[in-house]
């Protein structure tokens, strides 16, 4: 019997979910077997980590640390988005500005995020701003570069059409530039958010007295390896959650107009 396209998509989906579950079981299995031959402070067993994690989640301090880390990532990311989009549009609009600032962007991109973390510690000390700064410096160039490149894909014909309608500069920016760069911006923002979130942990480990990164370092200092694993698990869950619940549906909604790719 012939299957309808809808059924085939559903089949593919089920198969994918099955494969993902299998992978999870394999990874946890290998981890479990590995932990049998090692002391708990080197590699704690999955059961033990899960136990510590469930303990951790019910402590009130957990949500405070979770919240503060999320707040820092979000702040750094928001600043990076605003500055990155505005600068990206500006550099895209003016060739001279673009040529002038381009080397600076290369330099910023070559400086490692860990170095920004050290600078942050010197400049901002043990405060929220250290982490926000590091997230910003990591995410902003990525967003800027993507927006800038996006502006070069703006269709000249559309600008000419806008002129025949006597559209204002602001209207051209909002109705032509913005929709054109949106896919590129989104790709950049996604990457930037991932990098920013990862680097925020380094920044917190070096220059904060709260947050997931700080707790991770604390646990490591006290050789509470199971705690380190539990916090890591928390982070992984957070990132997967943001990707699946926030970014993916948003992308599907925003780019509904795109031509579906032939299978």
């Amino acid at each position: 019997m012939k299957r309808s396209p809808l059924q085939m998509t559903q089949d593919r989906r089920l198969r994918l979910i099955g494969l993902r579950l299998l992978l999870l079981i394999v990874v946890i299995g290998i981890w479990g077997i590995g932990s049998l031959g090692a002391p708990a402070f080197i590699l704690p067993s999955p059961r033990r980590v899960f136990g510590v994690w469930t303990q951790l989640v019910i402590t009130p301090g957990f949500w405070a640390d979770f919240g503060i880390t999320f707040y820092r990532i979000a702040m750094g990311f928001i600043f990076a988005t605003v500055v990155g989009v505005v600068l990206g549009l500006l550099l895209g609009a003016s060739r001279t500005l673009g040529d002038f600032f381009q080397p600076l962007l290369v330099v910023i991109n070559t400086v490692s995020s860990s170095i920004w973390a050290i600078f942050a510690l010197i400049w901002f000390g043990l405060s929220n701003w250290s982490t926000i700064f590091v997230v910003f410096m990591t995410a902003m160039p990525l967003i800027l570069t993507n927006v800038w490149q996006g502006t070069s894909t703006v269709n000249r014909d559309f600008i000419e059409l806008a002129q025949t309608f006597r559209m204002s500069r602001l209207q051209v920016l909002l109705k032509i530039y913005l929709p054109t760069i949106l896919p590129q911006f989104f790709a950049g923002a996604r990457l930037a958010f991932g990098f920013g979130a990862r680097v925020s942990i380094v920044a917190e480990a070096l220059g904060a007295s709260s947050g997931i990164g700080y707790r991770l370092r604390q646990a490591a200092d006290l050789v509470q390896t199971d705690q380190v694993f539990a916090w890591t698990l928390t982070l992984v869950i957070l990132m997967i959650f943001i990707e699946a619940v926030l970014l993916k549906p948003l992308e599907t909604r925003l780019f509904a107009w795109r031509k579906p790719r032939p299978a």
């Binding site: 269709n155 014909d157 559309f158 000419e160 059409l161 806008a162 002129q163 025949t164 309608f165 006597r166 559209m167 204002s168 209207q171 109705k175 032509i176 929709p179 949106l182 509904a256 107009w257 795109r258 031509k259």
Partner: protein
Amino acid sequence: MSVVQLESVGKSFMRRDGEQLEVLRNIDLDVPERSIVALVGASGCGKSTLLNIVAGLIPPDQGTVYLNGQKSSAFRDWRSMTYMFQEDRLFPWRTTAQNIALGLEAAGMPRAERRDRVMQVLELVGLEKFADSFPHELSGGMRSRAALGRSLVTEPSILLMDEPFSKLDPSIRTQMHDEVLRIAALRQMSVLFVTHDVEEAVVLANKIVVLMPRPGRVKETREIDLPYPRNPLSPEVAEEVRLLRLSL
């Protein structure tokens, strides 16, 4: 009264090698109210440049352009003139209805009022059922209708067209000609269009201006008094086409 009038308009462009290239010389042109005027000529005779000058996108070097009797430089009512290009230039991220609404958005019309106007135009160009489709979901003919709709929604008194149907299949092109004639009559609109298709010019226009190239000059102006609709296969139309071909 003339909706568009050109008096000895000339235009030159600076070429890359620094030499002046004269594109248009001493052009006189008159588009009477409610008429359809075709500009025909070989490529390189400056047809599109002429249209861009009328649209106020580029200034002429010599001569004067009058729009509704006003000097182009003093003309303010640019939204009474719309421009349809060779490509449909529909924004891929907008639905048909949203694409058609563009001119109204540019004019700052509130959303509620836009809705009614867009609905009217969708009906006028026969795209009611495709209001929420994206351009990639439309056929070539439907895209052309959408682009026409976008040019009509601001209810212009002058429609400029630069070879708007040249990329369509012949049968669809004929349909679009009928649409333009019907809507121009209905809306009491004047049309000035550029084409290299002699038959298209004879089927649509009351007046055909023949240009010759390098620099673009008016060679001849022909009035076509045949009644509409004009069948390209009828002997009268065929004769006009033949005469026009000779003149080119």
